[in-house]
Every structure is written in structure tokens, then in C-alpha cells.
Amino acid sequence: MAEKHLTQDQLEIISNKVVGDGFYRLTVRSHSWAKSARAGQFAHIRVGKGLEPLLRRPISIHGLDDRDAIAFLYQAKGAGTALLAAKRTGETIDAIGPAGNGFTVDARFRRIILVGGGIGVAPLMFLAQAYRAKGTAVTVLLGARSKDCLTCLADFKSLGCQVTVTTDDGSQGHRGYVTDILEQHISAGPGPVAIFACGPTVMMRRAATIAGLYDVFCEVSLEERMACGVGACLGCAVMTTTGYRRVCADGPVFSAEEVVWTG
């Protein structure tokens, strides 16, 4: 059980840098997190010192920088992430985690396809690291604004992933939605293949539908507003085929088949 490593820690910041328009890459030192964290898990971070903002912010683990350092990739959207962006090397962040269940990492897949949109790319890097470590072939399909993370493309490539970018207007890579090219990639190589998606709901829903059509293993990482982040408050419920489940504790990763899409 992932939960067994859940701790509250003051993690020391190694660096916290802009890596795109409003995108930041934060690395912190922690042997225990680096050791126990699994791709798809997140940290529940107290971004302020006082009560403004009140609640912690969930941020996915973006990857391991080395055996003592983990990275986060985040987008400065509102007041909370702005405070995070203002933190400097040497300061600490108060983080609860590694939280959540994480993606399935299974050597039986010969190929995996990562489907990312916007900041949804964040946890997929960690997953790419995990699969590449097993020698699995990794295809990355990045949608729309994913170019916003300037370092991501290079990072995926240096892991040996095959990367394709699509944009709505064709300004970069393929023109259209990232899911438009998903079908061709499913058929384009040996199986068994697995799809992992993280990004806007419409994108994940479409990926789930396609995976269903091709009867391919597919997991999605869901977002929901959170309070506790550890499973206690039932605040982050999403509807599934087995009833309401908690994104923070039963997820954020769910089998695409069990999600009851509402958005």
C-alpha cells in the first residue's frame, strides 16, 4: 500500500526555477521521498506560512533528480502557486506525501503511450522514468500548450522517449488534438500496450474512449478540489462505477474504465 510511506516533512529546496511561461520546476532534497515515491503520487504542500491561503495545494511528483532529490513541475495559476514560486533555495516546504496511489508500472507492457495536456505532463515524466528504467518503449503525445514546459521535451527525449507534439492551430508539431493521433500510435507497434493520460478532462475522456475501443489498458490521473489530501474528509470524491472514490487516497490514478465522466 502506497499509504504506508505517507509522512509530513519539511523538505529543503534545492532549486525553484522558471522553465516556461508561468511554469516552474522545483527540486527538493529527500532521501525518503525519493526512495518511496511512485509515479502518479503527489505532495500536499502548505504554500503559505499563515492562513492565506488556507488549504494545502496538491502537486504531482514530476520525477527523481537523483536518489536524494525529487522534482515538481507546476504552473503559477493563482495565489497558492504564486507563493510557491516565490520560495527560494535553502527554504523548506511543508509537504505531506507521497500521497495517492500512483500509476501501474508493469513490465508486461511492451510499449506505453503517455498522453499529456498542459500541466498534465507533470506526473507523466516520472512515469516515463519508471518505464524507461524497465526498458519499456515510451511514446509521449503532448497536447496543445505542453510546449509551455520548455524543459519537458528535452527531458523526455533524453530518457529515450519518442515525443510527438500537437497544437490546436498547428503552430508547433501536428495540428489538432493530441487524441487525434492516439489511434495511429496504438496500432503503430507491438503490444501489449498501455495508455496513461493526464490533462484536461475532455482529453482524458477521449483517451479513455479510444482505449476502450481498442481494448487497451488505460489509466487516467484525475483532479478534484482537495481539503485534507489524505483521505480523511471525503472532499475530493469523483464518481466511479463503484460509487464515489477519493482522488487523494483511492486515486489520483484510476482505471479509465471505472471513471464515470461528468465533465
Binding site: 509522512t7 470524491a237 464518481m239 464515489y244
Partner: protein, 300 residues
């Protein structure tokens, strides 16, 4: 330093109780439940309830809205699966009971009669997030009294009634439940509130309206506690927005015999322990030897 507190015939090692719906057993990893006065797990109903659609929580300035809707797996699951875990962690457990009808309250209370390890019952007649039961009971003196009397007539454990702030006169309700036999009251449950998600131009919560909790509501809670203490003779447990030892002291100085901590745990899981420690420090520094000396000291 003596922090022992007697409420409604039960003795707590200290006056700091974790509020219903906010302190799951997950928090056993961050803080030691055995060091707290008591823990009140999420309200239980007779049968499992699935709760309200997402989003169920929304942050506001110094507060949060929730519309969980009493999601729980029912009393049997609670007794068989959850309670043993709490007791295993050394917690003193007060069970929160909710229901859509008086009969449901009574039946859950009857089941608890035969269960060891439940120190008292807290009747949640104040949940704002369900269509039936909940706040309807807590807003009408007569109904609140009826639930209380019915449960008292069967329960073999002390009964605490948890009141809603969403009323014109809390003292009326408090007097009614006191007359009906309540051993103590706790207040406040959440304050009705809502938010609009501007980006979507629609209500932020799936259920539109929710309950406001957190530091924002502390002054509201404190006023209601102060007034209630003045109106009834049974003990009052104060809660609403407590995040620091100083907040807890405000409630006790206002006359609360104990306090509960809810939302603050989400921000800092160790809040309960920190409040216990902080109260101890305060008593020492101000030369009190007993927590009871503090209770109601700020009353005029």
C-alpha cells in the same frame, strides 16, 4: 498540570477533541490520537450513504466550504471496521450519529448501546448538506428536543447534541435540548455558505450551498458559545475555526468546557497535539493548576 476534563459524565485526559468529519484515521500517521482528549469520527447513519456530487470542497478567504453530505458506510461498517482501528490507536472515541428520521437516530444509538469503546454519542442535528434530517432538526427547538429525548430514552451513554449556528436564537434550541435531557451540547457545526466559480459562471459546489468552516467563522462560533453558556447549565463544547492554542483558550475563557478542532487539521495535522501543549503552557505561565479554573473566566 492537570488538563483532565469532565464532560457529560465522561472524563477526558484533556479538553481537545477532534471534530466529526475532519479527523480520519489517516491522521494517525501524523499525530498520536491517544494524546488527544477524544476523537469524533465522521457521522454515521444506519445505512451507508453516498454523499453529494463534486466539487464538494471550495476554499474561501480563511475558510472552506464543504458539501460532503454525510457520506459514510453505515453503522455496521463503523462498528466492525473503523472503531477497532481507533481503539487500537488508543483514542477515546465519541460517536457522531446522524439520521433522516428520529427513528434512525434511535436505532443507531441502540446499536451503540452494545458496543464497547464508545464513550459518548454526539447527535449531529446540524448538518447543512443533506436534504432530510440534519439541519432541519437543529433549526427547530421542538424537533431538536424530540430527537434528543428519543435518543436519551434508549441510550446508555452520555448524549451530546451538536447545534447549528444557522438560527435566529441558539439559546432557544440549547434550552430545548437541555430540557429534553441532553448531557452536553457542542457548537458550532458549519455556517451555511456558498461560492460562485467565476471562470465557469456557476456555483462552485456541486450542491450549490455548503457549510463554511475554518478561521473565518471563529468570531461567530465564539459569540454563540458565549451566549449558550449563559443560557444553560449543561456543559458546552466549543468549536469553529480553532487553529491555535490561543483560539482554544478564547473558547474556554468564554465558558466552553472543552473544544473541538476541525478544518485546522487539514492545514496542520498536528494541530490537536499543539493545542493541548499550548493550553498546558498557558496554564503554567499564568499560574493556574487546573484547566477548570480557566473555564468562563472572561465572562462578565
Amino acid at each position: 498540570m492537570n488538563l483532565t476534563t469532565d464532560i457529560a459524565g465522561i472524563q477526558l485526559k484533556n479538553p481537545v477533541i477532534m471534530a466529526s468529519g475532519t479527523f480520519g484515521r489517516e491522521y494517525g500517521r501524523f499525530t498520536d490520537p491517544a494524546k488527544l482528549g477524544a476523537v469524533i469520527p465522521k457521522s454515521v447513519t444506519l445505512e451507508a450513504r453516498s454523499g453529494n456530487p463534486a466539487p464538494r470542497v471550495w476554499e474561501t478567504t480563511a475558510g472552506m466550504l464543504n458539501s460532503i453530505g454525510l457520506e459514510n458506510r453505515g453503522v455496521t461498517y463503523f462498528v466492525e471496521e473503523e472503531l477497532p482501528l481507533w481503539l487500537g490507536l488508543g483514542a477515546t472515541v465519541i460517536a457522531s450519529v446522524a439520521g433522516e428520521t428520529i427513528d434512525e437516530f434511535v436505532r443507531v444509538a441502540e446499536i451503540f448501546n452494545d458496543v464497547d469503546g464508545i464513550s459518548a454519542l454526539e447527535l449531529n442535528v446540524s448538518c447543512p448538506n443533506v436534504d432530510r434530517g440534519g439541519i432541519q432538526f437543529g433549526c427547530r427547538p421542538r424537533l431538536a428536543a424530540d430527537v434528543t429525548a428519543a435518543v436519551k430514552s434508549v441510550a446508555n451513554k452520555p448524549v451530546i447534541v451538536k447545534l447549528t449556528p444557522n438560527v435566529t436564537s441558539i439559546t432557544e434550541i440549547a434550552k430545548a435540548v437541555e430540557a429534553a435531557g441532553a448531557d452536553a451540547v457542542s457548537l458550532i457545526n458549519t455556517v451555511l455558505g456558498m461560492a460562485i466559480d467565476i471562470a465557469a459562471e456557476k456555483p462552485a459546489l456541486g450542491r450549490v450551498v455548503g457549510g463554511l468552516s475554518g478561521p473565518a467563522i471563529k468570531p461567530i462560533a465564539l459569540r454563540l458559545v458565549y451566549e449558550t453558556v449563559g443560557a444553560i447549565d449543561i456543559p458546552v463544547i466549543g468549536l469553529g475555526g480553532i487553529t491555535t492554542p490561543a483560539d482554544a483558550l478564547e473558547f474556554m475563557l468564554a465558558g466552553a468546557s472543552a473544544v473541538q478542532i476541525g478544518t485546522a487539521t487539514f492545514i496542520e495535522p498536528k494541530t490537536g497535539e499543539q493545542v493541548v501543549a499550548g493550553i498546558g503552557t498557558y496554564l503554567r505561565e499564568h499560574d493556574y493548576d487546573n484547566i477548570t479554573q480557566l473555564i468562563g473566566r472572561a465572562r462578565l
